[in-house]
Symmetry: C2
Subunit: 290 residues, 2 copies
């Protein structure tokens, strides 16, 4: 495994891998790699791909300068995770390599999908994501790109971009990897105080409760309705974590992210909440059982 910083070096490695008949698998990351990233890399490796991991903290997708400054940067540790998980190439560019002087191109998905939820609370976030992901996919020239399902809306947005532009890349979503108490792995978790870390387990608890509510729905409780489930969960959050600041908690269609009322088959519960000053997001599918 080697690490390179320049686009031209990636192209050369990719060309050689292709000439050797390899399929290219790509895992875009912002570094601070954890077990969730490692699972993506391992999956790409086990599928037989030549695996490229990008490590790039993308300024364009941060709407909050403090969040950008606080975002952990741990390249040496990241390289160890990559090597261990079976990566073949790490691409760790400087900001000036991705955004050289005069850079002016934007790739945007202009639909309700990017305006809701994360799009609403983090203005400009998705334009930053789609622009950098498009560029990274073009640099990696990959056949398959792997994304964690923790960023559910991001995954939907990337899928739409790739489909709309006929990029010819298969977008693979992989299940969220969780801590033993259920908290979704995130590079931001290290910023939680011990107390906030304890509080944070309310998030997976709420998501699991959504399934319980759906399972126990009766004509009286109406907990097979998205709005009713969301209201229950908000009340639960307020009583169990009064200091948490909720951005959103909703029951939505998994593809369009439009809120659903009557759940006839399945739905996605999505949440973004600030706990101890750290913004955390998570989601899970809930399924109506007959």
């Amino acid at each position: 495994m080697q690490t390179v910083s320049f686009i031209g070096d990636v192209r050369e490695v990719v060309e050689n891998a292709r000439a050797a008949g390899r399929r290219i698998g790509f895992v875009p990351t912002m570094g601070a790699l954890h077990a969730g990233h490692a699972a993506l890399i391992r999956q790409a490796h086990e599928e037989g791909c030549f695996v490229i991991v990008s490590v790039f903290v993308n300024p364009a997708q941060f709407n909050d300068a403090g969040d950008l400054a606080a975002y952990p940067r741990t390249l040496t540790a990241d390289e160890a995770v990559c090597r261990e998980a079976g990566a073949d190439l790490v691409f760790a560019p400087e900001v000036s390599e991705i955004y050289p002087a005069g850079f002016a191109t934007q790739v945007t998905v202009d639909s309700p999908l990017t305006k809701a939820w994360e799009g609403h609370f983090r203005p400009g976030h998705f334009a930053g994501v789609t622009t950098v992901v498009a560029k990274l996919l073009l640099i990696a020239q990959c056949d398959r790109a792997f994304f964690g399902e923790k960023d559910w809306q991001q995954l939907a947005v990337v899928r739409q971009m790739v489909r709309d532009l006929a990029m010819g890349v298969a977008i693979v979503g992989s299940p969220t990897v969780r801590e033993s108490d259920g908290l979704a792995m995130s590079s931001r978790n290290v910023r939680l105080s011990p107390e906030a870390r304890k509080t944070a387990k309310i998030i997976p608890y709420l998501l699991d409760t959504a399934q319980d509510l759906l399972d126990s729905a009766t004509p009286e409780t109406q907990t097979d309705k998205g709005g009713v489930i969301a209201a229950w969960l908000r009340t639960l959050l307020e009583s169990n974590a009064p200091d948490a600041r909720l951005d959103y908690l909703a029951v939505v269609d998994p593809d369009t992210l439009v809120e659903v009322d009557e759940i006839t088959n399945y739905a996605q519960v999505i949440i973004a909440v600030h706990i101890g000053g750290v913004r955390l997001i998570d989601n899970r599918k809930i399924v109506k059982r007959f």
Copy 2:
């Protein structure tokens, strides 16, 4: 040579051409092919490329519905031009293949380059161009793409997009092919009345005069200044073609398209003018000789 309408068919043909060790050359067009297009196809062929020509009248780049409706569509004749010039594949998709239901992605270059001149007079034009060109380049998976220099600003915008996104495609600009009287070949020329067609030769005359003015500059005439040259040419146009409606006529930097005053080395003269109800554009390089 074959013609296909579906993205998947292009991918299959490209894969086979690549497997056979061919480089892919791509000529994007809106059809109504003329000698200018044929020259691009021939150039790609003579460079040894497997040549893909797209024929797609892109609704997204027309700011004027009447212009879109009036744009000539001549696929059978276009196929003959392609075959004759050495194309290997024609890609002639329906609008719904490029813009399926729910399409929402835009590729935009947000810089002074896209705001001036054509960007000013045709709002939304360049966003339409960059989005479709990005998608077509991704479908063709080409090594080289060929564009006529008649659309000088478009060429500069496409170059910026390809550079910004690291698309890994070489953008080749080729000299404008002209009628015997100097009028630039354009698919819109067929819409000129015989009288307007005669008037239209004022355009290359103005461009050539720009070089004459520069050649004959003295400290008194100051015709080595962009603004002075442009003023002279505007007067010439008014006296020779009083019915022509000028959108712009300017002396600019060839790369940034910013107006230049003192011409120290070379510059580009650009013009857009309506003659007999048809909007024509052209440009030429002028060089200061010592």
